[in-house]
């Protein structure tokens, strides 16, 4: 009985959670009509893009046994850089690539410091949280970076309620999620990341190039964060060096709700994406119910704790 429950939770735990929260907001008659509308789901999906793309990188990092606290700052930094480049007349493709490159560079610094100085990622990225934010403000001259217009602005738009197409950002997130999932499950790189997170000493003994691997994980994750920065820019339509404060905590929460262990060695892309969706649905639904902001925050806090508790239960009490 308990074993069967564990198996079901293991296979579909986060998914059941998502269905539950959707059901929660679909029950009351006064919100059901609007909440269950296609347009509202479009909004939820679009609102989840930034956290999802960040969560892809964070899944890699957490599975490898590390953590990245500098994500919010890096999103602001790469958004500011993208806005500055648009001001200088760069096209959307070049701007996006540059922002991704900037994110990758931050990842390279994080990863090199973690691997080279043999310091905990918590400390290094806590430092980078300040460095990234400060650099963003410096580059932006401590104000928002405005620009006339850019095609990037249309990537996250949900303005037209009758339009059926999902914005580009959603499709990009879906495609990247599929690619990252394959990368983690089917490639040598992915299995090495799992081995590193599961037991670094054993991975090294088996000839896994642990130093190089740690750096690569942070670089790839940084590229995802850079892209998240572009989506953030697209949503705001300007570069704001003070945006996305605390975003890293939402992203980490998504990965954890999705079943990853902070000890490393376990986690899935699908889980992380569902984790991100659960939080978006909770936010969106709470707004529709007219619940105050603080109430949403309390609920999301509880969800994180319950999710990890259930995950421990399914693993039979082990963390």
């Amino acid at each position: 009985m308990i074993a069967a429950l564990r198996r079901i939770l293991g296979k579909a735990g986060p998914f059941i959670g998502l269905v539950l929260v959707i059901g929660l907001f679909a029950l009351p008659a006064e919100t059901r009509v609007h909440f269950l509308s296609y347009h509202n789901f479009k909004i939820i999906l679009t609102q989840t893009v930034i956290v999802s793309v960040g969560a892809l990188g964070m899944t890699l990092i957490i599975v490898s046994g590390a953590i990245d606290l500098s994500v919010g700052s890096t999103v602001a930094l790469t958004g500011v850089i993208a806005a500055l480049l648009i001001q200088r007349g760069w096209g959307p493709a070049a701007t996006t690539l540059a922002a991704i490159g900037a994110g990758g560079l931050v990842g390279l610094l994080n990863g090199s410091a973690v691997a080279g100085l043999r310091m905990p990622s918590f400390i290094i990225t806590l430092g980078m949280l300040g460095i990234g934010r400060g650099t963003a403000k410096w580059l932006a001259d401590n104000q928002t970076v405005n620009y006339e217009s850019s095609p990037i602005n249309g990537w996250m738009t949900t303005a037209n309620p009758s339009g059926s197409a999902l914005p580009a950002g959603v499709w990009v997130a879906v495609a990247l999620a599929a690619a990252t999932s394959l990368l983690l499950r089917k490639t040598v790189f992915g299995r090495h990341v799992f081995a590193l997170g599961s037991n670094e000493a054993a991975a090294r003994l088996c000839g896994v190039p642990t130093t190089r691997l740690k750096i690569m994980v942070f670089v790839i994750a940084g590229c995802f964060i850079g892209l998240a920065g572009v989506f953030q820019l697209s949503r705001l339509r300007l570069g704001d060096p003070t945006v996305a404060v605390g975003l890293e905590l939402d992203i980490i929460a998504a990965v954890i709700i999705g079943g990853a262990s902070l000890n490393g060695g376990s986690g899935t892309v699908l889980g992380s994406i569902i984790g991100a969706l659960i939080m978006s649905v909770l936010r969106n639904g709470s707004q529709q119910m007219g619940w105050p902001n603080y109430f949403q925050e309390i609920i999301i806090g509880l969800v994180i704790i319950v999710a990890v508790f259930l995950d421990r239960f399914r693993r039979g009490g082990r963390t």
């Binding site: 040598v188 299995r191 799992f194 000493a201 054993a202 991975a203 060695g265």
Partner: protein
């Protein structure tokens, strides 16, 4: 006969459909050392958990000094005078020796630690074990495993136990440390403490035990006075079959030198080691814990960087090597520390077996998961690993099966030179015999083995050549025929 201190009558315990224990009875007198013997999975661990209060029995009764004994939990058991020393060291590595010994039983006034009294109690506990000289304020994590175990025993003694359960206490001790432990056990026995002694080392059980109980498949397979039974009859009871020769005798031909070290050093633990291993040769390394044997094989493998000296593999000398390069050259390493360094416990068997050569299961960085699983399955079948499938996590397997998975990695790679650090530590006799057979077969097939072991009969039974390390130096390398157990011991402690 003295009155029974602890009596177990008809203890049964099931987990789901599995009967872990079926009507097991056992009694231990005051001041008796009772050896509890059995293969892995025979039910010893379950019985110990019931005794120490971690599990409750489904049926049966227990009595301690004539009163019903049903501990509510480990703490309750400890308070009633049943203490347990676990196989794995359970210290808080960042706390001092004194703090570890007194943990949970601190001398205090209104919550303030009484430093002087603490020191005296900790010192007294250590002194009764013959380790009164230990620096009390040093971090426990900085001591060797053997020394940490002494600290742990001292901690158990503080509660003045009536029954002390020792689960594989010598599995990480050298011969001389084991002797010291036996002295301690002798003293405890004289004080009237009853000891339940669990060990895979049957010679030890015979030396230290007054009586024994053998478990097999959750049932009592035999019990009696130790002086009436020999090792062979104990093994026969454990395995249900007579002892074939434990060590394989296969004629081997040795080829050219495949591995050579010249004055390899990495101070302070490894000072100088020069050795040669030939194709098809098993070279044993004996010595005390901390003599530098593990440091030597780690340095050869590139896990630690050499400070000076040279390693040549297949005639090619190179010094700054990584484990990755060594695997590529055909050198494999089996760590003495299965859980911390050897295996990735929360990953499946198939990943653990194939991690050193994932690239070969596909192209362009992709892994053919089916081929990978098939490769792993071949070894779990051949080595008789008890598992649900190769996608089961290694952490869910028993110690002996985990070690087979660790071996499977070397076989799958396949390594031509095997560095094996304590390959039979903490596993049952049946698994041991199989691993001896395996090592013998590998050497017969032309592989070369360096075998680090603290168990001298194993070295004498298996190796062609045995070297002894002492204080970081490889002091004597001779053919097996020129060594005896006392010789090895003398060389290890420096009287040769």
């Amino acid at each position: 006969m003295k009155p029974a201190r602890l009596r177990l009558d008809g203890i049964s315990k099931s987990f789901g459909a599995t009967h872990a224990l079926r009507s097991v009875s056992l009694d231990v007198a005051e001041g008796e050392v009772h050896a509890l013997i059995g293969e892995n999975g025979a039910g010893k661990s379950t019985l110990l958990k019931i005794l120490s209060g971690a599990h409750g029995a489904d049926a049966g009764a227990m009595e301690l000094d004539g009163r019903p004994y049903r501990p509510a939990g480990p703490l309750d058991a400890r308070e009633r005078g049943v203490a347990m020393i676990y196989q794995e060291v359970n210290l808080a590595p960042h706390l001092s020796v004194r703090e570890n010994i007194l943990l949970g039983l601190e001398s205090s006034t209104l919550g303030w630690i009484d430093a002087e009294d603490s020191r005296q109690r900790a010192r007294a506990a250590l002194a009764s074990l013959g380790y009164g000289h230990f620096p009390l304020e040093r971090e426990a994590g900085s001591f060797s495993i053997a020394e940490q175990q002494v600290i742990e025993i001292a901690r158990a003694l503080l509660a003045q136990p009536r029954v002390l359960i020792m689960d594989e206490p010598t599995s990480s001790l050298t011969q001389s440390d084991t002797e010291k432990l036996f002295t301690v056990i002798g003293r405890l026995r004289a004080q009237g403490v009853s000891i339940i002694y669990v060990s895979h080392f049957l010679e030890e059980c015979r030396r230290i035990g007054d009586r024994y109980t053998v478990l097999k498949d959750g049932e009592t397979a035999g019990a009696g006075e130790m002086r009436d039974s020999g090792v062979d009859s104990l093994v026969a009871l454990m395995t249900g079959r007579p002892v074939a020769d434990l060590y394989p005798r296969i004629s081997r031909r040795m080829g050219p030198v495949v591995l050579e070290t010249r004055s390899l050093s990495r101070p302070p633990r490894l000072r100088s080691a020069s050795l040669r291993v030939r194709e098809g040769e098993i070279l044993g390394l004996a010595g005390l814990v901390g003599a530098g044997r593990t440091d030597l094989v780690r340095t050869i493998f590139g896990l630690d960087a050499a400070a000076a000296g040279e390693v040549a593999v297949f005639g090619r000398a190179a010094n700054r090597e990584t484990p990755r390069r060594r695997w590529a050259e055909g050198v494999g390493f089996l760590s003495e520390n299965r859980k911390e360094e050897g295996l990735m416990l929360n990953l499946p068997i198939q990943d653990n077996v194939t991690l050193t050569k994932l690239e070969t299961f596909g192209r362009l960085g992709w892994i053919g998961r089916r081929r990978q699983a098939a490769a792993a399955r071949r070894w779990t079948d051949q080595l008789a690993v008890k598992c649900r499938g190769v996608d089961q996590n290694v952490g869910e397997l028993s110690g002996g099966n985990q070690q087979r998975v660790a071996f499977a990695r070397l076989l799958e790679h396949p390594a031509r030179i095997l560095l094996l650090d304590e390959p039979t530590r903490g596993i049952d006799v049946g698994s041991k015999a199989q691993i001896y057979q395996l090592i013998g077969d590998l050497a017969a097939a032309g592989k070369s083995v360096i075998l680090v072991s603290s168990y001298l009969p194993e070295l004498l039974g298996l190796c062609d050549t045995i070297g002894v390390m002492r204080r970081g130096e490889l002091v004597a390398v001779r053919p097996r025929g020129e060594w005896s157990e006392p010789d090895l011991l003398r060389a290890a402690v420096g009287e040769a």
